[in-house]
Amino acid sequence: MSENNEKKVHGIVAEYTSVDSLLNACRRVRDAGYKKTDAFAPFAVHGIDKALGIKPTVLPWIVFGCGAVGAVVGLAMQIWMNSIDYPYIISGKPMISLPAFIPVAYELTILFAAFGAFFGMWALNGLPRFSNPIFTDPRFDRVTDDRFFLYIDSKDEQFDEAGIRQLFGDTGTDYIQTVVDDDSSSKVPKGFFVAWAVVIGLSVIPVLVVLKMRLTNSNLPRFHVFFDMDFSPSKDAQQTTTLFADGRAMRPDVAGTVARGDMLIDMDFMTGIDMEALTQVDARRAERLVRSFAEPSPQQAAEQPPVAAEDEKVAPEDDPAATDAAATPAAEAAENNDSQGEGSDEAETAKPAAPVAEPSVMDTTPWLTENPLELNKELLERGQTYFGIYCSVCHGLNGGGNGLVNRRAQKILATKWIPPSKLNQSTLAQDVYPDGKMFNTISNGIRKMPGYAAQITTRDRWAIVAYVRALQQSQNASIDEVPAAEQEAILKQQAEVKKQLEEQAAAEAAQAAAKPTEKE
């Protein structure tokens, strides 16, 4: 294109129609001493590298290097992850069990080597390269179809347009062309950038949302598209479910099984009642009692063994009239109302009070008079521990009935508060208040006191009974009952404690005087 002389000339290209003519031309160009040459063909022409004097590529070394890196990375990754950073022991194999690490290392070797071959080839070829002056000639489009081209670059030392045209002419080509700069616009269409920006913008949004969620705090509960395994919603009592055919979320015991703690071994031990005697006095009640243990209703099975349920809700024994009024109906209520394990207030109102003259069921029950457990130091210490945990908050550590809860109730003048019993009072002495009865009271509660059967095991309740007996004795004892060896020490300690208490009382009084208004 002589009219385009002002344009930069990149080189000269000649067209051939067959492999043989191309190879022939290549050889002549090579022999003429041209170095910066290239041939273009629709397929890989065999022998062209020799004909043009192209040097072998370093690609195999790149691939080898990448493969070696892949092998090392694969092995190092597995050893570090599974043997060093987070050591797993699997099937008793050694920490670094090479045979098991081979497959992944093998795959990574191939993967890295393949990346090396693929990307290395494009990089060595200088591709992608979308703007190439050789493409300016429309005739060059046939290079990917059925035409072959030979090209000499203007950067070649011997470059001389006329000479090359002459040389090409001799090789039997009928098309020789100068390759010049592309004068078409190199601008990428605007729409392309817009589309690119939109795609990038949209793809960044989810990442940003995730990042924000991970990096900021929120008062809202965690957002779950799908719930994880740590989310396991539980049903409340009486709710329905679709999981079971009967629609009940609360499941009855499996037929023929006994729930933990419901094993019926020793009824005397579990109820505090001499069952043999009870059978003689009131066979129906004894039978009912056994049945209530043997076939607990589903709720009871889940929550609380119905220890002598019918004996609950008796009135305070300080007031015999009330005791009589409440005891019998409560006993009957348990039978009628097995969905509610405890004799309920409802039953009390439903059935009017029995004649006052009838003796309380609490009095006629043949309670065990002695603790069925062997008394020893270990048992008493156990009792002391559990008394401290469960009883002392109301009854006080010394059983004097002035625990923290009671003190608080007195302080705020709670109107419905019934003060807890002083455990050392004479009405609770062993001869009038048998061990079995006290066990029953602990198990099922009395007045404001709830039953503790659900929280304290049967054995520990008996241990508490034993400890309460010891407390009673200690509180009502005189110093003379203590062995002589211990007397002095006790007296000394007593004096010290007394002094401390006095000091404390004085300090509290002074504080109260200083802040007279401080009261709820």
Binding site: D38, I48, I54, I110, T144
Partner: protein, 470 residues
Amino acid sequence: MSLAIPNGLDNTVERPGERAPLVLGETDYHEITETVCQVAERKPSTSWVIGFLISFALLQWLGICILYLFYTGVGVWGNRSPIFWGWPIVNFVFWVGIGHAGTLISAILFLFRQEWRTSINRAAEAMTIFAVACAGTFPGIHVGRAWLAFWLAPYPSLNLWMWPQFRSPLLWDVFAVSTYGTVSLLFWYMGMVPDLATFRDRSKNKWRRMAYGVLSLGWSGSSRHWMRYEKAYALLAALAAPLVLSVHTIVSFDFAVSQVPGWHTTIFPPYFVAGAIFSGFAMVLTLMIPSRKMLGLEKLITIRHLDNMCKIILATGSMVGLAYGTEFFIAWYGQVQEEKFAFINRAFGPYWWAYWTMVTCNVISPQLFWVKKFRTTPWIIFIITIFVNIGMWFERFVIVVTSLSRDYVPSAWAYFSPTWVDWSMLIGSFGLFMTLFLLFCRLMPVINMAETKSTLAKQIHLEEHGYGNH
């Protein structure tokens, strides 16, 4: 046979001292370009449109089933104790197996200088990638919480504070299949670049030219580029050959490394690889026979190509049959009670129908290819390959389900029944496969033009300069 070959030449006949032509007709380079490009450049045919609509509908159905699975949980499948693997894993192994033919044709046949591969390798490689995509879907959704499938990757997780367990074959499988998918994709794409450049240079439409221009990376056909390209291609083939053998080996480790009777056998790796090639070639033929007709590629995919592939099916089918026999022999010879039971149970237990379907389709039907008439008649090949496909699906079903349904503890035995979701996903995965394949036929060069031209160049060279002196 002469019906199928335009110029009446039967290239399945061996002539001593001559190489049978692989490109038929009075052809030249330009005609090859025309033949291949017209597939993508002409208007889609009615059969293509109908096929695409059906496949696309099935693909949508697969998507809906997957959403339903995510929403409801894996209980929508028939997977029940003790058969926890069920159809998802059957389908996974089935598709991975099919995915083996493409790379085998591209890599191993390339290394053995089997030039007849040139006109079928492109479509076979595409099929590999689409089959691996189908295969990858199933373990992905089978993990239970598919949205956490990325936990399989060894990344420094802030949630877990731990790493994957690299001594597990299931994790080897993750690496093997993903490496295989990646390398196959690179191989396929790299092989396509010169042909995409042909598409670019023939494009009349500006946008089409731009799209193919970007995809072809500015390929100019420079002989320096070709030299490195050929080297890279040979290297990738050399890398892909051991890879293709390792992938199904590792898939077989999923089974063989376990303790389940019927799985715990050393024959699994070679047996799985033979089965994979067998099923892959069957699928290539199943697709190639109708498409060469519909796309007008009979001059390039000749009867000789079909004949050669049938021979490979015959060889690998016989290997598979030998493996079935060996398994039984070893079960008896090993005298392990559970193992013996597992195999007798396969053949005569509650799944006897699956076992004998498998044997009929995989061992007996390919034996018909001993007869040349069957190897060179497209419709007979088509029917036999359909049988092989069915048989190979049943092989995986027999392995996965019969062994799991009756292992050591008889009180835990059960019979597997698939649900409608199982069926839908199997059929839907064919929708995914066919949608991708039909799109490929329309958008990409279905035959490797550059390599076919180079085969033609050799043919011309031999004709001009005579045989024997080269």
